[in-house]
C-alpha cells in the first residue's frame, strides 16, 4: 500500500490545528481578562499577521509538490 506525501501534510495540519487552538485560547484570555489596550491589540495583530505570513509562505514553497506521489510503500 502506498503512503502518499499527503500523510506528512495531514500531520502538519494536525499540529497547525493544535497551534490554532492554543492561539485562540491565548487571544480569548487577553480579550476577556486583560484590558485590551493598544499594546495588546498591536501584539495580537502582529501575531495573527505573522502567523498568516508563515502559513502562506509554507504553502507557497510547497505549491509544486504532488501530494499523491508515494512517500513510501507498506508491503501488505
Amino acid at each position: 500500500m502506498d503512503i502518499p506525501y499527503f500523510a506528512i501534510l495531514i500531520i502538519y495540519l494536525v499540529v497547525v490545528g493544535i497551534f490554532l487552538l492554543m492561539a485562540y485560547f491565548n487571544i480569548y484570555h487577553i480579550v476577556k481578562w486583560s484590558l485590551f489596550d493598544a499594546r495588546s491589540k498591536t501584539i495580537v495583530f502582529l501575531f495573527i499577521a505573522l502567523s498568516v505570513v508563515i502559513l502562506f509562505m509554507s504553502f507557497f514553497l510547497l505549491r509544486g509538490i504532488d501530494w499523491w506521489y508515494p512517500l513510501f510503500t507498506i508491503p501488505i
Binding site: I8, V16, F19, H29, W33, S34, S40, I43, I54, S58
Partner: protein, 237 residues
C-alpha cells in the same frame, strides 16, 4: 447600554486608583528569548545552503524542512504570545474599596483574590539588586488582617510610590469611616432628643488647676497618744 469598566469585575460604585503590571524588563527578557529562537533556523539555513552550498536533492527532505521550519516559527511565536498573555493578565489593582490580585498561572488557571482596603495593616516595598534599583522596580508587600494575610505585588514599577498611594487611600478610607460614624452618632442623638452641641459644650474638667481644698475632717474619737498611755501606766504602777 453597556457600562464601561476600567478592569474586569469592577463594582458599579468602585473607583479605580491604581492598576499595575510587572515591570517591562520581564517582557523584554521574553522578547530577547523570542528573537534568539527566531534567529536559530535562519542561521542554520544560511550556514547549510549558502555557506556549505548544499541543495535539496530529495523532495521529501525539502517538504519536511519547510514544514519543520514553519511549525517551529509558529510555535515560538505562540510561546511569546503566551508569555505576553501571562504578563498582561498578572494584574494588581487598587481601588477606593479593595486591593485585587489577579494572577494567571498557565493557560487554564486564573487566581483572583481581593481584600478590603480597610484591612490593610502594613505596606512595605522592596527593591533588590542593581538593575532593579537603577530601573526602579521591586516588590510591594501588603499585610492584611484577612485570610490571605499577605499580598505581593511582584516586580512592579515604582514600588515606593505604590506604597504611598496605598497608604493614602487607606488613610482616606479610614477618615471617611470615622466621619460616617460621627454623623451616625449625631443622627442617633438627635433622634433620641439630645442636642449633640449641648454635649460638646460640657467641657471636661480642667485637671491642670489646683484641686479644691477640703477641710480636715473632725476626728470621730479622741486619739490616745503615747504620752497618755505612759501616764496611765504610772497610774497602774
Amino acid at each position: 447600554m453597556k457600562k464601561h469598566h476600567d478592569f474586569p469585575g469592577q463594582r458599579s460604585d468602585e473607583k479605580l486608583i491604581l492598576l499595575v503590571r510587572r515591570h517591562w524588563t520581564k517582557l523584554l527578557k521574553d522578547f530577547i528569548k523570542f528573537i534568539f529562537l527566531l534567529l536559530i533556523p535562519i542561521a542554520i539555513i544560511i550556514v547549510v545552503f549558502l555557506v556549505l552550498g548544499l541543495t535539496f536533492e530529495s523532495e521529501i527532505i525539502y517538504t519536511i524542512i519547510v514544514f519543520a521550519v514553519s511549525l517551529y516559527l509558529l510555535f515560538i511565536m505562540l510561546f511569546f504570545l503566551n508569555d505576553f498573555v501571562d504578563h498582561q493578565l498578572d494584574l494588581w489593582i487598587v481601588t477606593d474599596q479593595r486591593i485585587i490580585n489577579m494572577e494567571q498561572e498557565g493557560l487554564f488557571n486564573r487566581v483572583i483574590s481581593s481584600q478590603s482596603i480597610e484591612r490593610v495593616q502594613d505596606v512595605t516595598s522592596e527593591v533588590k539588586g542593581k538593575v532593579a534599583t537603577f530601573l526602579d522596580y521591586g516588590n510591594v508587600y501588603i499585610q492584611t488582617a484577612g485570610e490571605e494575610q499577605r499580598f505581593v505585588f511582584e516586580e512592579v514599577p515604582h514600588p515606593a510610590q505604590i506604597v504611598k498611594i496605598i497608604q493614602d487611600v487607606h488613610d482616606r478610607v479610614e477618615e471617611d469611616d470615622e466621619k460616617e460614624d460621627r454623623d451616625a452618632l449625631v443622627k442617633a442623638l438627635k433622634e433620641g432628643g439630645i442636642n449633640p452641641k449641648a454635649i460638646m459644650k460640657n467641657k471636661p474638667q480642667d485637671l491642670t488647676s489646683e484641686p479644691p481644698k477640703i477641710p480636715n475632717p473632725k476626728p470621730r474619737y479622741n486619739r490616745t497618744t503615747l504620752k497618755d498611755l505612759n501616764d496611765n501606766d504610772e497610774e497602774f504602777l
